[in-house]
Symmetry: C2
Subunit: 443 residues, 2 copies
Amino acid sequence: MSASRGRPIRLGLLGLGTVGLAAYDLLRRNQDEITRRSGHALQVVAVARRDTQAARRCVDDSVQVLADGHALVTHAEVDVVVELMGGIDPAKQWVLAAIDAGKHVVTANKALLALHGNEIFARARERGVVVAFEAAVAGGIPIIKTLREGLSANRIQWVAGIINGTTNFILTQMRQKGLDFSSALAQAQALGYAEADPTFDIEGVDAAHKIALVSAMAFGVRVQFDRVHVEGITQLQAADMRYAEQLGYRIKLLGITKRVDNGVELRVHPTLLPQRSLLASVEDAMNAVMVCGDAVGSTLYYGKGAGGDPTASAVVADVLDVARLMDADAVHHAPALAFQPSAVDDGPVLPQDEVVTSYYLRLRVRDEAGVLAQLTAILAQRHISLDAVIQREAQGDEATPHTDLIVLTHAAREGVMNQAIAAMQALDVVVQPVVRLRREVFA
Amino acid sequence: MSASRGRPIRLGLLGLGTVGLAAYDLLRRNQDEITRRSGHALQVVAVARRDTQAARRCVDDSVQVLADGHALVTHAEVDVVVELMGGIDPAKQWVLAAIDAGKHVVTANKALLALHGNEIFARARERGVVVAFEAAVAGGIPIIKTLREGLSANRIQWVAGIINGTTNFILTQMRQKGLDFSSALAQAQALGYAEADPTFDIEGVDAAHKIALVSAMAFGVRVQFDRVHVEGITQLQAADMRYAEQLGYRIKLLGITKRVDNGVELRVHPTLLPQRSLLASVEDAMNAVMVCGDAVGSTLYYGKGAGGDPTASAVVADVLDVARLMDADAVHHAPALAFQPSAVDDGPVLPQDEVVTSYYLRLRVRDEAGVLAQLTAILAQRHISLDAVIQREAQGDEATPHTDLIVLTHAAREGVMNQAIAAMQALDVVVQPVVRLRREVFA
């Protein structure tokens, strides 16, 4: 196949772990197909990995193996640096050095961009190079390109997504097998769906990294990771999975960002979704992102959100984009964060107290007359109206029988809801901490 | 908001019907947001519509209104021609004239591109202009960009989609309300989901237009509309919707294109899908496309496939892509059909007889001993194995009681299956034409 019409694009791979190796293999395996599409041959000329002997065993003899990332990013023969090492240090300094050396950068590093994206993108603009990051959100699903280009005619209204596969796998196990969180986590670790230290996943930090990037691209605001309201899934109990199910809902960890009158909502938390909704049917380690625009309406993008091959799919697609535009002036590239830098808003992120949503409450109460009246009075005083109430049979010893009271509310401001919960908690009849989850219906 | 850094992009709208007006309104409504993204102001300088008085009432005084499309596409002040008139004549001659005049073209015209795309794209390449057509497939869902850029690292294996909203609406009505085809069509027409002449939709021609384009982009083959095997939904009966449901399936009209050993499958037909699959849960007039690539695995894209606003979303996104690249050399554009023209295969489309899939058969048979044995012998002789058989209670007058026999088969070559069906049909005990539907399970 001699479809090549441009000069070869020379790549340097920074990091050669699971994703790095998958990208290397994908570039080789689909070499012909990629050249048929791009007109360029993509050539890995150098890789950097601390363990050079291990690296040597993985790549062709023609590929230079370096121990020093800095040497790779400043390598005279590298056109595009592909950063797949992860973490902040030394990834940040090497990415900046690559930019300073005039290299285009493709990265899958969501933590780096969530924390230092504003600085990195600004440096890339100054230097006239591209920093592409499709692989940083939702693996192989081209959601970054969709937000930046596919839906660029829209005023985006909200984005909501299942953007962490580990937690979605755990939640699926909890629901399907009635497991509690820690058993489901242990299973996910045994099956390789969760890392030995799963903190970033289960505490919602990874999803927060991603939704901060998505929010910037959706609304033209800065990357504001430090403003994300983050709740993970570690507090979720099997009982709530069950009750949600009985009420027609399913609990998912969502990253949510919405444009509202007075700013932007930016949050990650477990969320009840109607069982019949598309997002609710996204199971196991799959990812899905819904985007609602004023013209296009609600759209959904679904696929594998992690793993070597899907991530490599996004990385190599980014390389192809860069390759296509490499000889053009940087002015012809879509802006990294979708909006012109001069047009970026300092759109305020709403304090979580001001977010309006509806709620699921579970109260463990004494099984005695008048309890429901006390609770509903607290809600009524604050103009929070009820959507549904269910009461479960009493349990516990007979002297002090307890019961579960589950309440679904209509929309309320979170600050007001928190006051209501505090008032409920103060009642003698409420014998355990009130469980509160949020509920969303994405139309 | 003064984010504009490029010169205004001047647009000429060819056609000012539902989509034309929606695009015009969208460009005005989201002017600020679009400029924030693109750095360019997009300006409609002229529109062409036969009824110039009606057009005059729809647009600003500053917009020139022309009766003659040719005058618009050769207009000195127009940079990009947006063709939203539909049909082949005179759309084809005006699009070619626009290209010859050095204008970039954005079009939503799938019929035009399915029939004459090879010629039009070749002319555009010669002239160094872009013909963009995101709106031609699945409305606002950016599936063209996804196939061309987002998944460009993959060897695409198959694409399957619900890409005609009218038929999906009709099928949803048939299933939910137990309607037969003609009643459901009448309802769809009353509600505005089907046109007065719905032939192109219900006969599968519209879906065939779209899958021919998709196939070219997925595999790097020519646009081969004339090779699509097309079956619409007009022959579907309420009984089969019901039986499929009982067997755990749902019937959808799919456009399917697959890469197989000896060529490419290219077909549109009603298809049984497992009820729990994501595609099966796409209801009403919604569209969804699944794409499976060797690296990314199975992905799905979902949204509104028709209507003014969703289509305008895709049209204006295309204009933004063109605007971004307008000052660059055409070499920097992604190829219109995703692959370099020199790399396009003459990949053969498989004769439908050679397609391998599994089948749903419904046979109306005499309710007498030995019928099932006769039928299964016919299948067994041809090495077609059975997945499930159900038999429904006898109906009709008592002298000649009849019964419905429903058979799900495992995979078989269609030519062989057709022989088997002919043999079954020839049996005395089979009293009506055998109903045959295809079944797919997209993993």
